[in-house]
Symmetry: C2
Subunit: 315 residues, 2 copies
């Protein structure tokens, strides 16, 4: 008996600032329908999938355009059509969105919805990059620390439904995928499939510098490959890609197996589906042997990971 699930990554091309919510939702629904047609049972959309990557823009906190980027509930009328279509097709999905709570808190969040429309898990991004402040010396801004609070839900793993073969699922958002701590906290809950959406800037499409498109895509894939391997889990990591109002985003959406091998990868910077048949039992060799945590980990020597935040260098 194998424990299979057909999963899709639904990479989105750019969403311009002037695009309407209805236009964007239609693109998500089109990708969902195509994925369902290919037999996918779970579709992974990017981080902040309903809007442009607005943290690149400085806006007043009460700017109506900014407020309009947040969801006050999930689902809600402006995204309901996606939920309805997914339920009708019995397809689950992961989607990232900007969350505004009834208490006025703002988070960079993601949910995973089951094939019956039920929300299976929720995550609020913990590793927020960028700054709170406008940085006049920088050509491009990254203001996630201004527009979001740090996630306050930890890294909770959760079970998928029985008709998905009850896998242990985990979620990360964008920059989280570069931080082995989040992967390991989910690895310690036995994660078998990591769901990730991202918007990662590549300001220098041809330059060969540190923010070059190819180097940033290499980093994105490398981090997912190695952390999937070191935690013996599958991973689906999905971009919003292309040029949004003059600012570049990498593509490179990928599905990675528990050996760290890329089994599917997007080739464009536009709306594109990638697909793989995931066998959860393929995690067992790693979890039982090389990465048998109970047999090999030595937490008494890991104290600095929780006892200090920044670097303390030797003299």
């Amino acid at each position: 008996m194998t424990r299979n699930l057909r999963v899709a990554g639904a990479q989105l091309g750019p969403i311009q600032r002037a695009d309407t919510r209805a236009q964007t939702l239609e693109r998500l629904i089109t990708l969902l329908e195509r994925a369902a047609g290919d037999g996918a049972e779970l579709v992974v959309f990017p981080e902040l999938a309903f809007t442009t990557f607005f943290p690149r823009w400085w806006m007043a906190e009460d700017d109506p355009e900014l407020i309009g980027c947040y969801e006050r509930a999930m689902p809600n009328p402006q995204v309901q059509a996606l939920f309805d279509k997914a339920k009708a097709l019995s397809v689950g999905f992961y989607v990232g969105y900007a969350e505004l709570t009834p208490e006025g808190k703002r988070f960079n969040s993601a949910i995973t919805v089951g094939p019956d429309g039920r929300i299976l898990g929720k995550y609020r991004k913990i590793h927020l990059p960028g700054s709170k402040e406008f940085r006049p010396q920088q050509q491009y801004q990254q203001l996630e620390k201004r527009y979001f609070e740090y996630g306050d839900l930890g890294f909770p793993a959760f079970r998928g439904p029985k008709n998905w073969n009850a896998p242990v699922l985990g979620m990360l958002i964008c920059n989280d995928r570069r931080w082995p701590e989040g992967w390991r906290v989910l690895g310690l809950q036995g994660v078998e499939l990591m769901l990730i959406g991202y918007n990662s800037a590549a300001y220098d499409p041809n330059g060969g510098g540190a923010e070059d498109l190819n180097i940033r895509t290499f980093h994105s894939t490398l981090a997912v490959q190695a952390n999937a391997y070191m935690n013996a889990t599958w991973a689906v990591s999905v971009a919003k890609a292309g040029v949004e109002d003059g600012s570049g985003l990498i593509g490179g959406s990928c599905i990675v197996d528990p050996n760290g091998m890329v089994v599917a990868q997007a080739k464009t910077l536009g709306d594109e589906l990638i697909l793989a048949d995931v066998d959860f039992d393929a995690c067992r060799q790693g979890k039982e042997k090389m990465f048998n945590f109970a047999a090999h980990r030595r937490p008494q020597w890991y104290g600095r990971i929780v006892e200090q935040v920044g670097v303390v260098a030797p003299e």
Copy 2:
């Protein structure tokens, strides 16, 4: 002003069980001399560089052959010639060895020796793979947990000398390189150059299975690339390679930059030098921006990493 150091990885081909210590030492000295001739200031040798990988053999604890594999002090007469040659050439080195303490404790250890012959740092391997017990159902044994105690020195970073531009150095041994915890504990000490030696089995040179030579080499390189990137450090990772008494070991020794890029890699499974000019200031971009730990880490959510050893799965 740049902070450069020319480093070499001195991959060793196989050391057969019947090879004498004098034969092996001569090979290390030859590689050291060649590296010095190429201008290297620091040479990295593999794990257990003075002997065959003896943990593949079941031996009685008082077997003279086993006892002869351990060093009772470092240096000692049977390795002194390497220390003398390195000091004469003003070249430092990392070398792995089996340690037997005056109290009778046994460790899988490594030291880094400065260009003046002084021992700069010492490390005892924490992530011991394999088993304590003979496993009759397995074709090959991996008995490190029998022949060594778990390292008891933590992961201490240390400074190289001023004529190396005072880099923060860290050491790992073999299987440690697959465990992001050790890298992060050293990353939190600001490591700029990670020194690693390994003996990694590849039992299946052509088979395409999980212990296939190519897959195991891919894993070895992947783990070093990603962990170097995620800690914004250089890394030199060096194999004992080839077929020792019928058991295969991977090669793939590599030097990796703080972007996770391989800048040099061994092509053979024999004695082979790899070389790179390391610029420690190339770590700064990663340490100050993407991996600015003080700005971005959230240890309050990393508790499981130290609070539990094995997996605790959701219901």
